[in-house]
Subunit: 235 residues, 2 copies
């Protein structure tokens, strides 16, 4: 635990380094060793929340973090279910690395209208909009009308209904994102919605098992992928 | 714990009600009873994080929540240290209740310039901007040149340096917000910065003791005050 009485005069990047050192030390003390290919994601989730539960609750499909980084290098569009998650993503670096961009459709007028018409949540309607914009266009592709779609990462930090709709799309084959970050937080339908993602094997995922998660965690995971992708390029 | 295998078909407001019922039940099971005048804030922080630690870590100066609600009814300006916290605040309801507005100066050009010149963090410089815009103008007031300043709530979810600078302003008497929400998260200087706020008695505060907090928690606390202020008006 940080010494309460002492202020440490450090530059922002030194504070970040020091924080990750403390996280490393405490994980070691807890006897937790993370897989190297996932550790940078888990540690950034802990850094964002000061909650070591993420060391055990974050579950990755095999190679999920590498898939996410490659998508970002290829210019992935990042779709979030809250403007809060979107605003937590380092959009400048995302753009610099591969030209990607972050979107949230929750506050869009057409999403509100569509949710009302269909009697679904705006979060679900916002995922439908994402599918419409970035979903598979197999016929079009086979007819050579459009290039293969661009990579897409969906990061859900709030709405279980967003994950539920994504599972439908996966089953239908209509929208298969490159990676789903499924970290909604809450007490109702949250655990259930994560289990839905965990029980499919068509789309790579990073999921926080249990109730915890949030827009901040969703953004932190995206940022971890961005920063590591950048570092790998710079090496 | 939520039954994993069952999806509950509920409307958004029903999900929220059900969530708060579960939180109430589990607090009871843990033998925790919250003060009625603070409970709605604590429970919304738990609702946002699924983390019951906030039941013990959130500390209120006497009457702090009531002060916050009154400020909101009087049109309080809410200053945050991250755009993420700002975007998590229900600005529509904030405006409806008292005409208040949420601000974050972190991305402002003049804040970046000022931080560079002074060798401080942008978070600290953004608080200086807040003080400049909304700080005490005692001379002006005594000379009847301007009306009494409008109420201000500062909500810090990220930067310990923001809290440190606020403490300076309080000591100097140059900027005394109506309420400080001090919930930065992290491993370096975070506990220290919160202790600084807890050790003064001029400005009411809501602080999360220890390392935990975040932009999401800052926004949740502001929203709890907004929703309760609204409810009290409607009764």
């Amino acid at each position: 635990m940080e010494n309460k009485m002492e202020f440490q005069q450090l530059l922002p990047h030194q504070i970040e380094e020091k924080s990750f050192e403390i996280i490393d030390e405490e994980l070691k003390e807890m006897g937790i060793s993370l897989k190297p290919e996932e550790a940078f994601v888990v540690k950034r989730a802990i850094h964002t929340t000061a909650d070591f539960d993420y060391a055990s609750s974050l579950v990755f499909s095999p190679g999920a973090a590498a898939v996410g980084m490659e998508a970002i290098r290829q210019g992935a569009m990042i779709i979030t279910d809250t403007n809060m998650a979107k605003s937590g993503i380092n959009s400048r670096q995302l753009k610099e690395i591969g030209g990607g961009q972050a979107f949230c459709f929750m506050a869009d007028e057409d999403v509100a209208v569509s949710a009302k018409e269909k009697g679904c949540t705006r979060a679900a309607a916002s995922m439908e909009k994402a599918a419409r914009l970035f979903g598979e266009t197999k016929e079009a592709v086979s007819e050579n009308k459009v290039p293969k779609r661009m990579p897409v990462i969906v990061a859900v930090g709030n709405a279980p209904t967003a994950l539920a709709v994504l599972c439908q799309f996966i089953q239908e084959g209509s929208f298969l994102p490159d990676l789903i970050i499924g970290v909604p937080v809450g007490f109702v339908n949250v655990v259930w919605s994560k289990e839905q993602i965990l029980s499919q094997n068509q789309v790579p995922y990073i999921v926080s098992k249990g109730r915890k998660g949030g827009s901040n965690v969703a953004a932190a995971i995206v940022n971890a992928l961005i920063y590591q992708a950048r570092q790998d390029i710079m090496i």
